[in-house]
Each structure stands twice: as structure tokens, then as C-alpha cells.
């Protein structure tokens, strides 16, 4: 069952410019995004910084107002709700942020931090409140001896557990996890991931899991959406998207994860350049200036999400990046290629032509 979904979600921010602050630039943070979070499932949102992941999450939580499109919780548009109904929805949608030290009030005790959402939503007697807080602490692997301490007395992993306990306090159905483990050590990350998995099973929670670490995503996600510059470029089941990405960006992203195996050293050239500015995004496919298999069409026409191999892909030439990506470039060659996406070097230019020529043959050979 779909709990939370977005329909053509678009969020633009205007940035005032110049001395007089009269003219404004528009940041295209999120454009036309459709996502659906199913009950008890984890949807992961991945992409580089500046791709709009967090803005999508904020819009889904009702923290930013969409420029266009809808955010529906159980079919009701949350952006149009006010007062009591909005509060009822806030109860079901909770969030855990990336940096536990800045998302917990340093002057509040653990007890106050966890009690705060309960005080907003419930009118409980002290005894009932204490019981619930003790239960929540136990759920996240802490104890009542921690009740009267403040956030600075805890390690990053423990703080993240407190933030999770706070999110769980009002029995939400959906929890948005915005990079919940990226500020943690691997050993602590493993424990937080196991905890989240366990809580999801026990409490039938749905997660929107925002991350840039694809190895983490692979271990928790049921479905994955890959974003680039405010648009979804590929979305589908985690197993399919992460093991056989079809969009060249998704492919580059999965290939960029450094594998902890010295016998499998990555030899392909890294994705060149940086994410362009969202103020003036590239025409056509927003990824085309960095893409290894771009064609003329890519710079003029924006590809729409189409179904292919059991997932949706927005690409004019999906599925060839892995074959085309220039491999085995030594670092010295790579440096000359960097930052010159407009003038590709010889090898890459040769690669660019091949998808259009050999596309039908290759497509036929795909399983």
C-alpha cells in the first residue's frame, strides 16, 4: 500500500541577486519528481550533493512548500492541510537528520528530547510518559541511566540512536532518514543499520532513506531512485538498479564506489567534472555535458522516464555506459580531460558515436 507519494513535485527557490536585490535567479532544486513510499518498505534516494535529495525529503515532510505538484499522504495532499489535520499527519511522518549533534538541542536532556514530540501530541501523565521513554530507549539500545544526560555526553552513534528514539516516540508510519549514517564510523554505521532494519520489521515502518553511499543503500533499500540535478534519472527495485544500472549517471555512480577489494581495482576513468549549477541547468538531458554516451538529441530533448528491464529510466541511450566508459586511463591522461566536458578527448569522442550506430544490434543482444 502506498503511504506517501509525490506527484510531479517541483520545488524552485528564488535567489536574490545584485546590489539592489531586485533581479532573481531561480534554483531548479526539484523538477517533476514522482515517488511512492510503500508501507513497510525502504525507498532510497541517491545522488551527488546538489541533486535535490534533501529538498524532496523536506517537501515530503511539509518543511518546504512545493512550487508545483502534490505530496500525498494516504491520498490526502499534505500541503493543503492546516491546523489539526496537519498535526495529525506530522505524527505519522517523522525524520532523522544527518548530523545528530546539530539536530539535538544541546541544552535538553535525553528525557526532554524524547518527551518533546509526546508532549506535543499526547496529554500523558508523568508515569505514562516515563514508561514510554524507557521503552523507547530500550528499543534503540540505550537505557534509563542515560535519561538525564545531554547530547554532548554521547558519541555520534548514540546521538543518532537518541534521534531515532525521538522519531519513534509518536509511533510514525513513515520515517525520513536523511543520511543517517554518513557521519558515523563503519562499525557504528553497521550497528545503526541493523537497528533500523530491526525496527522496520518490528514496527512495520516505511523509510525514505537518503544516502550517497551505495553500499549502504544496497544493504537496506527495497527500491532506489537515482536523482541528478533535481530530476529522477532511474527508479526501480534496488536489486535491479544497483546491479545493472541503465542510466549512464546511475552507472557512473555505482562504478565510483571504492570497493574494499585490492584485487578489483577500478580502472575506468572517473566521471569528469562537477554537478552543474541548478540555476541554469543544461538543456535537454541535464546529465548530457558529463555523459559518455551523449548524442545530439541529448542536448536538445529532455528524455522522459520510460519502462525498461523492470525499472524506469530517463535516457535516450540507456544501458551502454558500462561498455563505452573509457577504461584504463592513467591519472595523467585523466587530468587533461578533467573540466573539459565540452571538448572530449579522442577516445571519448569515439565512444560517443557508437551508441547510435550500434544501438539496435546491442539492444537485441541484451537478455
Amino acid at each position: 500500500m502506498t503511504l506517501l507519494e509525490t506527484r510531479s513535485l517541483t520545488v524552485h527557490f528564488s535567489v536574490k541577486r545584485g546590489l539592489t536585490r531586485r533581479s532573481a535567479d531561480v534554483v531548479h532544486a526539484v523538477d517533476d519528481v514522482d515517488l511512492a513510499i510503500e508501507a513497510g518498505q525502504t525507498l532510497a534516494l541517491v545522488g551527488e550533493s546538489g541533486s535535490g535529495k534533501t529538498t524532496v525529503a523536506h517537501a515530503m515532510l511539509g518543511l518546504v512548500k512545493p512550487t508545483a505538484g502534490q505530496v500525498l499522504y494516504r491520498g490526502v495532499d499534505i500541503t493543503r492541510q492546516g491546523g489539526k489535520q496537519r498535526r495529525g499527519m506530522a505524527r505519522e511522518l517523522q525524520v532523522v537528520f544527518q548530523d545528530p549533534y546539530s539536530s539535538l538541542d544541546p541544552r535538553m536532556t535525553v528525557r526532554d528530547i524524547i518527551a518533546e514530540p509526546l508532549r506535543v501530541h499526547e496529554r500523558w501523565k508523568t508515569q505514562q510518559l516515563n514508561d514510554r521513554i524507557a521503552q523507547l530507549l530500550e528499543m534503540v539500545g540505550l537505557g534509563t541511566q542515560h535519561l538525564w544526560r545531554r547530547p554532548h555526553e554521547f558519541s555520534g552513534g548514540q546521538c543518532q540512536r537518541i534521534a531515532i528514539a525521538r522519531a519513534l516516540a509518536v509511533e510514525p508510519r513513515v520515517i525520513v532518514l536523511d543520511e543517517p549514517t554518513s557521519s558515523l564510523d563503519v562499525s557504528v554505521q553497521a550497528r545503526v543499520l541493523t537497528l533500523l532494519e530491526d525496527l522496520q520489521q518490528r514496527l512495520d515502518l516505511a523509510f525514505l532513506f537518503i544516502a550517497h553511499d551505495l553500499a549502504v543503500v544496497a544493504s537496506v533499500a527495497d527500491a532506489v531512485a537515482v536523482m541528478y540535478l533535481g530530476r529522477i534519472v532511474e527508479i526501480g527495485l534496488a536489486a535491479a538498479v544497483l546491479s545493472h544500472p541503465l542510466h549512464p549517471y546511475a552507472e557512473a555512480l555505482t562504478a565510483s564506489v571504492p570497493r574494499p577489494d585490492p584485487e578489483e581495482r577500478c580502472t575506468r576513468a572517473p566521471l569528469a567534472g562537477d554537478v552543474p549549477s541548478a540555476i541554469d541547468p543544461p538543456s535537454g538531458c541535464r546529465f548530457h555535458p558529463r555523459c559518455v554516451c551523449r548524442t545530439d538529441l541529448c542536448s536538445t530533448e529532455q528524455p522522459l522516464l520510460r519502462e525498461m528491464d523492470g525499472r524506469l529510466v530517463a535516457c535516450h541511450t540507456p544501458g551502454y555506459a558500462a561498455d563505452i566508459a573509457p577504461a584504463d586511463l592513467s591519472a595523467s591522461n585523466q587530468t587533461t580531460q578533467h573540466d573539459a566536458p565540452g571538448r572530449p578527448a579522442g577516445r571519448r569522442a569515439a565512444g560517443v558515436e557508437s551508441p547510435s550506430r550500434s544501438a539496435p544490434a546491442r539492444r537485441a543482444s541484451r537478455p
Partner: protein, 332 residues
């Protein structure tokens, strides 16, 4: 081969109001010329402190080296005066930090900052320094188009800033680069670009590197040698492939088990307990309270590094007692 950097039995303490923090407890490390040594471990294990100690960047009254030596090209850096260290920093040994925005000066242009390092060390003219700046920037993959030299750090992307920091580090042809988590603040795609650059510096310019990272993937992809640190001690070191493919120390194995590499979250193994407080560290092997193979002697005596393979050393009583055959993998 003669070692470029040879740290022997380095013990370092911090005086804090709570007591003495025993941050490094007998660290032995060596970096050969044109070699990348990866220093891996959890936060607080002393990786960064080791790098800062080499450059003499730790605040003096609080940080005290109680024993050991840091030999660079045979000279003990700990015996050098502040003036001699100043001449060395940026010239012979340079450092790249985790957050490039915090390590660049926001009120000077990129060109000014790099040229200043060159003028300071080489005493060349302004125009010569700018020329050297251009070549350093292009060596890190930033050709000077569109006035990069005249731009300020905030105008650049994260990846470009880190390249600027690296250009500054190599501008005087340093022999040793200490890179402290150089890619942690960057996206994976940019991380890969920077790692390629580090490998390129080793291969093309012969720059030896001490790469501090908590990411075993980064270490596996980039380093020639790996040293695993835990609570101020080196617990295992050796060639990358040996340490990652055939780890002996229970901590290395446990750390590797925490990686979500192709595993479901429910199947991830974890390390019980937490990193100890170094004011009152556990006696003997500092890992023993969290170790699955703990024995009586572990709490009594600090294990010495023993050879388990060619260039592969482990500090563990349990491994020592087992009398392992070098090269044979013990852990599934």
C-alpha cells in the same frame, strides 16, 4: 629500500583537565619513497594525530611526545627547531586536510595563496611564482582557464577546492604528502577523481603519501601498504592485499565485517562495545575488552608486532599463540 619516513615507538600524550590522554602508544610506521601508506581505523584512534605529529603541528604545551622518534630521510624531526620545521613544511613534507574550504584562506585568491607558498620556500619573483602556480594547478587537473588564479575559494566547487589544496601541497615538489581524509567531504564521483590524482602523483612525480582514511574501500583502491590503528596503537600492517584479503588481527577482521558490501543490513556484523577512553585505556592489548578471542594474557601484556607474512605484521597474542602459517587465511 631506505625508508623516507620512519616512525619508531612514538608515544604521545595530551594534557587535559580531566587527565593525561594517552593518544599514541608506541606507533611504528614506515613509508618508502613513491609509496602510499594507508592509515585506517575508527575516529579517535590516532590517525590524524600521527600525521600532525610528523609535521609538528600539535600545540606544544598540551601535546607531549614522551618517547620515540620520527625519522624523515634519516633526520629526527622531533629534534628539529621550529625554524627548521617551518622550512620543511610545504617544501619537503606537505599536508592536505579533510575540509578544503576550512583549510584555504577565504580572503585571498587561489593564485595568491599558492604563490605565497612558493615564494616563501624558493624565494623566487612574483611572476616566476605565478608560473609555478599555474603548472602546479594543471598538474592537479585544473588548467587556468577563465581566471582560476584570481578566484576565491568560495567560488569553487568542493572537488576544485581539494585540487587547489593539492596543488599547494605539490607546488614545491614535496617528497611526502600527508593526506588527512582528503575525500571524506566529497561525493563518490569526485572522490574517485581525487584518488586517481593521488595515484598519479605517486606514479608520475614519485610523491610518497601517508593517506589517512576511515574508508577501507578508499584504502583498498589506492594504497600500497595499509596500517590499521586502534586506540593509539598499530594493530596490523602490511601490503594492502594481505591486510585486506588475509587479515589476522581480530579488529581488522571485525572492521571488514562491518562493511555493508553486498550484505543485507540484518546480516551485518558489528563490534560490541565502543572505542575506549584514552585517559584510562585498557591495559595490555587495548582491543581486548571488545575482542572475541580474548585470553588472560591480553589484559596483562601489550602484544608486540609479529611477522605473519612477507612485510605483514600483527600485534595480537591470540595470533601469536596459534602459530599461524603465514599466508593462510584464518577467518571466514
Amino acid at each position: 629500500m631506505a625508508k623516507l619516513l620512519d616512525i619508531r615507538g612514538l608515544k604521545l600524550e595530551f594534557r587535559s583537565y580531566r587527565g593525561v590522554v594517552k593518544a599514541l602508544d608506541g606507533v611504528d610506521l614506515a613509508v618508502a619513497p613513491a609509496e602510499i601508506l594507508g592509515l585506517v581505523g575508527e575516529s579517535g584512534c590516532g590517525k590524524t594525530i600521527t600525521g600532525m605529529a610528523v609535521l609538528g603541528l600539535l600545540a606544544k604545551p598540551q601535546a607531549q611526545v614522551t618517547s620515540g622518534e620520527i625519522l624523515f630521510k634519516g633526520d629526527d624531526l622531533l629534534k628539529k627547531s621550529e625554524g627548521e620545521m617551518r622550512a620543511l613544511r610545504g617544501r619537503e613534507i606537505s599536508m592536505v586536510f579533510q575540509d578544503p574550504l576550512a583549510s584555504l584562506n577565504p580572503v585571498f585568491t587561489v593564485g595568491d595563496q599558492i604563490a605565497r607558498v612558493i615564494r616563501e620556500h624558493k624565494g623566487v619573483s612574483r611572476s616566476e611564482a605565478l608560473e609555478a602556480t599555474r603548472s602546479a594547478l594543471s598538474a592537479t587537473g585544473l588548467p587556468d582557464h577563465g581566471g582560476l588564479l584570481g578566484s576565491y575559494p568560495h567560488q569553487l566547487s568542493g572537488g576544485m577546492r581539494q585540487r587547489v589544496c593539492m596543488a599547494m601541497a605539490i607546488s614545491c615538489d614535496s617528497h611526502l604528502l600527508i593526506a588527512d581524509e582528503p575525500t571524506t567531504a566529497l561525493d563518490v564521483t569526485i572522490q574517485m577523481q581525487i584518488l586517481r590524482l593521488l595515484i598519479g602523483l605517486r606514479d608520475d612525480r614519485g610523491v610518497a603519501q601517508l593517506l589517512v582514511t576511515h574508508n577501507l574501500g578508499v584504502a583498498a583502491q589506492t594504497c600500497d601498504q595499509i596500517a590499521v590503528m586502534y586506540a593509539g596503537q598499530v594493530v596490523e600492517q602490511g601490503p594492502t592485499i594481505e591486510v585486506i584479503k588475509r587479515p589476522y588481527h581480530p579488529y581488522t577482521t571485525a572492521l571488514y565485517g562491518c562493511l555493508p558490501q553486498g550484505k543485507l543490513a540484518a546480516d551485518l556484523s558489528t563490534i560490541p562495545g565502543s572505542v575506549p577512553d584514552l585517559i584510562d585505556p585498557p591495559a595490555g592489548c587495548r582491543f581486548h575488552p571488545r575482542c572475541t578471542h580474548v585470553q588472560a594474557e591480553c589484559a596483562a601484556q601489550k602484544p608486540a608486532l609479529i611477522d605473519v607474512g612477507p612485510g605483514h605484521q600483527v600485534a595480537c597474542h591470540w595470533v601469536g599463540r596459534l602459530g599461524v602459517v603465514p599466508g593462510e587465511r584464518m577467518h571466514a
